[in-house]
Amino acid sequence: MKRISIWCLLALLSLVSVPWAHAQKSKGTEQAIAELEGQWLQSQKTNNPDSIVNLLADKFVFTGADGKVANKTESLANAKATKYDSVDYSDLKVVAFGNTAIATGNFVAKGSDEAGKPMDLHERFTDTWLKMPNKQWQCVASHSSPVKM
């Protein structure tokens, strides 16, 4: 009887621990992605896009609020030509799906764009992050659309 009780207890513990472990893993992913989004923001605040080269996957695709599409090389070149006077993210949310995570948020920025024209942006973005075979998270797609004020 005692042995059965122990086995029942172990089975119960394992049932409880699986969702708990899953929740902990999701929480870890959400925190990791929020930190990477913070690094991205910092690169914009300091006008230093070189610091995000490793955050973008080789197959990275950026779709801008104007509908234009850019690959990793083009995105980094555009970022280098853009000068931010102020930039911030708000309402950042991350949803984890195993080794994939979706980050959404608001983006406000002022400065001059890659063509040297003044910019005053208020956009929403969706970033798709993927855990690569080397265990490093990289962004594979980023999409922005303007917020109608």
Binding site: G64, F97, G98, T100, I102, E123, T128, V140, H143, V147
Partner: protein, 150 residues
Amino acid sequence: MNWKIKATITALCGLLVAITLIAQSGGDTSKVQQLEQEMRQAQKNNDASWYQQHLADGYVEGHSWGEWATKDEALKQMQNKAIKFTQGEISDIKVSTFGSDVAVAHYKFTYDATFNGTHRARTVICSDTWIDQSGAWKLASNHCSHVEGT
């Protein structure tokens, strides 16, 4: 075993693995393209059950006019008869696969629709993230922006 036989078996195994990987990748691409077409058909038909089955829990949708929708909100929109798509065509679809369980689709979507009495006819450019959850492809996110001049 003769070294020639060993080498032949090794080469055949490598070839088999390569063919499987290529077939898997191509299969995922065409599966996602098929799902995108199904989704547009479901949208035209206000088929909320398709969305219920194919949107991942945690799904997020970014509209071209700057609003967000969760899975529940997207399902309510599908059930809302005041939202009606009369036309919707996908073009320029490109699917990038990442391993065997993640795919990102980029495409243009030209539609004519009425949203609660507001008529919208435009072309948007969209990014969709699909994930394979235990053998079933689910849409994790959709974000569209208006293509200027349309």
